[in-house]
């Protein structure tokens, strides 16, 4: 999932303080799972903003809605009839949702309510860690299911580097060396001989190096 973190309320207030009616828009997908922008977080932010404006002696309308998703056009259409009632929207979706809202409702200011961080997994409640960088050419088949692009600080394709010490990365002793993990995993799979095979130069054109990307699937297009 896409992992996001809450923005400080003070920062959000700074962005929206001049508006007279604001919609706080939650998203029921990834940001709900990582507890940054779901229905509950939308309710908390809306409540905090209502109190802030009342305390400032201003009557600002703050409503909250949580959409199933903000990255699909059909869900954004649900707002079509009521979005005119608001001066601005605070989207608690990831950066994709914020931008998709801005594209759909072109004349409406859309402010981000979360900091979008990475594609990751819930390692434990309250702890999310990065697992994928969306490089566009998955090499997990030959690295034992552990991604050196996302989990090695240097994105090495033939590792580890000299900074790997006791299974940890030199940039931080709390970070596992991805290549140590790969070696351990290949050994566990009985495929350690594959470690000796040099990885060819990776085609980075499918990563961000090729500019903004798109996936075209004619088989599912209408």
């Amino acid at each position: 999932m896409i992992v996001a973190d809450k923005k400080p309320i003070e920062e959000i207030i700074t962005e929206v303080k001049d508006h007279e009616s604001i919609l706080v828009l939650g998203c029921n997908e990834c940001v709900t799972v990582c507890e940054a922008g779901g229905k509950k977080e939308a309710g908390i932010l809306a409540s905090a903003l209502r109190m802030y404006f009342l305390n400032q002696g201003r009557e600002v309308r703050i409503d909250e809605v949580t959409l199933e998703r903000q990255c699909d056009p059909e869900y954004l259409e649900e707002l079509h009839d009521r979005i005119d009632a608001y001066d601005a929207v605070i989207s608690l979706a990831c950066g994709v949702g914020v931008q998709f809202m801005a594209e759909r409702y072109h004349d409406k200011p859309i402010y981000p309510g979360v900091n979008t961080c990475f594609m990751g997994a819930t390692q434990a409640r309250g702890l999310w860690t990065e697992r994928c960088q969306g490089c566009g050419q998955c090499i997990l088949a030959r690295t034992g299911g552990i991604c050196p692009i996302a989990r090695c600080a240097k994105r090495l394709l033939n590792g580890p580097c000299g900074g790997s010490t006791a299974g940890k990365c030199e940039i931080n002793k709390e970070i596992d060396c991805a290549w140590q993990l790969i070696i351990d995993r290949l050994k566990a799979l009985g495929r350690f001989d594959e470690y000796e095979e040099l990885a060819p130069i990776k085609d980075w054109s499918t990563d961000r190096a090729g500019g903004p990307r798109k996936v075209i699937r004619e088989d599912v297009q209408q």
Partner: protein, 117 residues
């Protein structure tokens, strides 16, 4: 025991303080409560293992929010006691009432009154 504590406290019973959500606390302030405190079981003695720890974290979260919006985080507090400790319950009540009297009325309540006038 016939202990006395301030009559301005409204008790809301919950099955466990773990049931108390940040939104419940915030709504109370939005509706004009001057202060809210959560009284849970002693730490380590929760029937549901960690309900009172969850409540404490939520109280801390609400405290930060109240500070951020200018209401004052001191208006919310978490207490722990054993269910049979009546004197301590009364003491917490007095402590909280004193604290809120010092902080004054909830600014939201005053703002609403001003707006209605």
């Amino acid at each position: 025991m016939r202990l006395e504590y301030s009559a301005c406290i409204r008790i809301i019973r919950v099955p466990c303080t773990g049931k108390v959500d940040s939104l419940h606390l915030l709504r109370a302030f939005e509706k004009g409560a001057d202060g809210v405190y959560v009284v849970g079981c002693m730490e380590g003695e929760c029937h549901f293992n960690n309900g009172n720890f969850r409540a404490r974290k939520r109280v801390e979260q609400v405290r930060r929010i109240l500070d951020a919006v200018g209401i004052g985080g001191d208006r919310v507090q978490m207490y722990n006691l054993s269910s049979s400790d009546g004197p301590l319950f009364a003491k917490f009540a007095s402590e909280m009432v004193d604290r809120i009297r010092q902080a004054g009325p909830n600014p939201i309540k005053l703002a609403r009154k001003r707006a209605a006038a």
